[in-house]
């Protein structure tokens, strides 16, 4: 516990530096001092003289999208950690398990079929979609074999993703105008351009709450190391913990997808790399993954804005470009282990 303080201080500094980079770097380069002055003006009325355009860019565009990127990265990485621990599969991840695809379908249904309007009902649609997709995936995995915790879950997840992606595509072709369709497709690939302060107030608390719930159950997550029966004999109410934490993962994923679209592989790459570095103990792995996810998505967002000048690549494309090869590496190294 005595080591807690220096680590949290280092984490905070890293996060602040990343936020600063996320705000400063972009099509219009801003110097760190300008960024500082704008923030100081806004946060404690420092009264610096700053160009109002710079002020607007920092406060309304860059800061919001960087904060949302951090929250999404942290939330998705946390979800990855929980799903990997509970399903005993290092490849489990919201995106690969079809949660993101289901959430997309739900959100698109709300957006296109008009089952309500506004950010919250979109998240509501995404949430229901994520839960339905996940339930379907688990049922499929269970039906394909008695031990639903190995390759079957991932296969079922891929099948579920395909189904829901097809449904989303069907809905878009059937009901959306060309312009709507382009917007939705861009959003589906992961897009941070549209986020403003209301999204920050949704994403940040949800990510923090998800992390807090998981940290509260860190010993239970540890107890799953040797499987479900072993967790039960260590005094964990297995069903209750699984239900609670998987619902938590579905909720966090759903909220994130409803804000930024389906961003894949964050929940896979970050926990996997940190597990190699720090070992499996969740009291370290959970906060480290949340931080790592936040830094990773901020970096991916910066890349998405700067790789091609004058154009924004969907951030989900950037994470997939990094994540897919890592996924392949994990598969190969797992095969060598056996």
């Amino acid at each position: 516990m005595t080591r807690l303080l220096p680590y949290s201080a280092a984490a905070l500094v890293a996060l602040l530096l990343a936020l600063l980079a996320g705000i400063a770097i972009g099509e219009t380069q801003l110097s760190p001092s300008v960024v500082y002055q704008v923030l100081a003006n806004r946060l404690w009325d420092a009264g610096y003289l700053v160009d109002p355009i710079d002020q607007g860019i920092v406060w309304n565009y860059r800061l919001t999208r960087t904060l949302v990127a951090a929250a999404c990265g942290a939330g998705l990485a946390t979800c990855g950690v929980i799903l990997q621990a509970l399903l005993r599969n290092p490849l489990a991840e919201p995106y690969l398990l079809g949660l993101s695809a289901g959430a997309s379908t739900g959100a698109v249904m709300v957006a296109l079929l008009g089952l309500g309007a506004g950010a919250l009902s979109l998240s509501g649609g995404a949430f229901v979609g994520a839960l339905l997709a996940f339930a379907l995936v688990l049922l499929l995995a269970r039906a394909s074999g008695p031990t639903a915790n190995n390759a079957q879950v991932i296969l079922a997840g891929i099948a579920g993703s395909q189904l829901f992606n097809a449904l989303t595509a069907f809905l878009i072709t059937k009901s959306a105008s060309a312009e709507q369709a382009r917007g939705i497709l861009f959003w589906l690939l992961g897009n941070l351009s549209g986020v403003r302060w209301p999204s920050v107030w949704l994403a940040v608390p949800v990510a923090l709450a998800g992390l807090a719930v998981c940290l509260w159950h860190r010993r239970a997550l540890d107890a799953f190391t040797f499987g479900v029966d072993s967790a039960a004999s260590l005094g964990i109410p297995v069903r209750r913990v699984q239900l609670l934490l998987i619902t938590c993962a579905a909720l966090v994923t759903a909220v994130m997808v409803s804000i930024v679209g389906a961003i894949g592989f964050v929940g896979l790459v970050i926990p996997h790399a940190l597990r190699l570095l720090l070992g499996g103990s969740h009291s370290r792995l959970l906060p480290a993954s949340a931080l790592g996810g936040a830094l990773f998505l901020i970096a991916a967002d910066i890349l998405s804005r700067t790789l091609i000048t004058g154009q924004v690549i969907p951030v989900g494309v950037v994470t997939a470009l990094i994540g897919a090869p890592v996924f392949a590496l994990i598969l190969v190294s797992r095969r060598k282990q056996r």
Binding site: M1, W216, F226, G227, D229, L234, R275
Partner: protein
């Protein structure tokens, strides 16, 4: 069966009319068993006779299809998992992990039922884990990673984890099947010397002779229960295990040894 009228038996762990089925297969039939405080009760039987299944039911990991289990005279189904885990520890026949976990952390999982979300891992917990490691002669492995351990070392760590739970009752499913002869003997000796009640599934019938009592399972039925020499008669061994056997007396200390021949 009228469980309501029959009083729960006075024992640390007990079961009455315990039956278990998976889909159409009945795996256990009406088992009555009392585990007395302090004893070492061995469970023997051929492969697939239901030893592991019985231990899982007694530990509350499976729900019986008929009958019930009593832990400390309370029905197991009415006790929270945490409370059960504070009284009873189970070492499964096979449990492994791909996680990169250190030996100390693996054994420290045994403290889980005693820790809460806010309580940090205390110096006392560390001392208990180290004692458990010492009990299985493995303090020197403390810093190793799990994946670097041999099969027998892993098995000893599972037992250490169960000991770190500080249970009154220890349920061991074939704890010696990967161990070298020295560790087999020392493990059985240590377990029997510990002030815990032990239920142990064994395959080596000569080792089973050192238990206080033996239960013999055959195709899901409890066919004999009692003192080892009364239970493991040559007729029983032929009928249940399908081998001819007779007892020899060790001239060294006068102990009985079983010798087997294929029929």
């Amino acid at each position: 069966m009228n469980i309501m009228t029959s009083a729960p038996p006075v024992a640390l762990l007990a079961c009455q009319g315990l039956g278990f089925r998976v889909r159409d297969t009945q795996l256990l039939y009406g088992i009555d068993l009392n585990v007395n405080p302090g004893e070492t009760l061995g469970i023997v039987g051929p492969n697939g006779s239901g030893k592991s299944t019985l231990l899982k039911l007694l530990a509350g990991l499976r729900t019986p299809s008929s009958g019930s289990v009593y832990l400390l005279e309370q029905p197991l189904t009415r006790q929270p998992r945490r409370q059960i885990a504070q009284a009873l520890a189970l070492v499964e026949q096979q449990a492994d992990t791909h996680d990169a976990i250190s030996v100390f952390d693996a054994v420290a999982l045994g403290r889980t039922p005693w820790l809460s979300a806010l309580a940090p891992f205390s110096a006392e917990d560390t001392a208990i884990v180290d004692q458990a490691l010492a009990d299985v002669d493995a303090l020197h492995l403390r810093q190793r990673t799990w994946s670097s351990l041999s099969g027998g070392e892993r098995q000893r760590m599972h037992i250490a984890r169960a000991l770190a739970q500080r249970p009154q009752l220890l349920l061991l499913d074939e704890p010696t099947n990967h161990l070298d002869i020295q560790h087999q003997l020392s493990l059985l000796q240590r377990v029997q010397a510990l002030p815990v009640t032990t239920l142990i599934a064994l395959h080596d019938l000569n080792q089973a002779l050192t238990c206080d009592r033996l239960a013999v399972l055959d195709k899901g039925r409890l066919v004999a229960l009692g003192a080892p020499l009364e239970v493991l008669t040559p007729e029983r061994l032929l009928k249940t295990f399908g081998v001819h056997a007779h007892y020899l007396t060790d001239p060294f200390d006068g102990a009985c040894i079983l010798r087997f021949r294929a029929p």
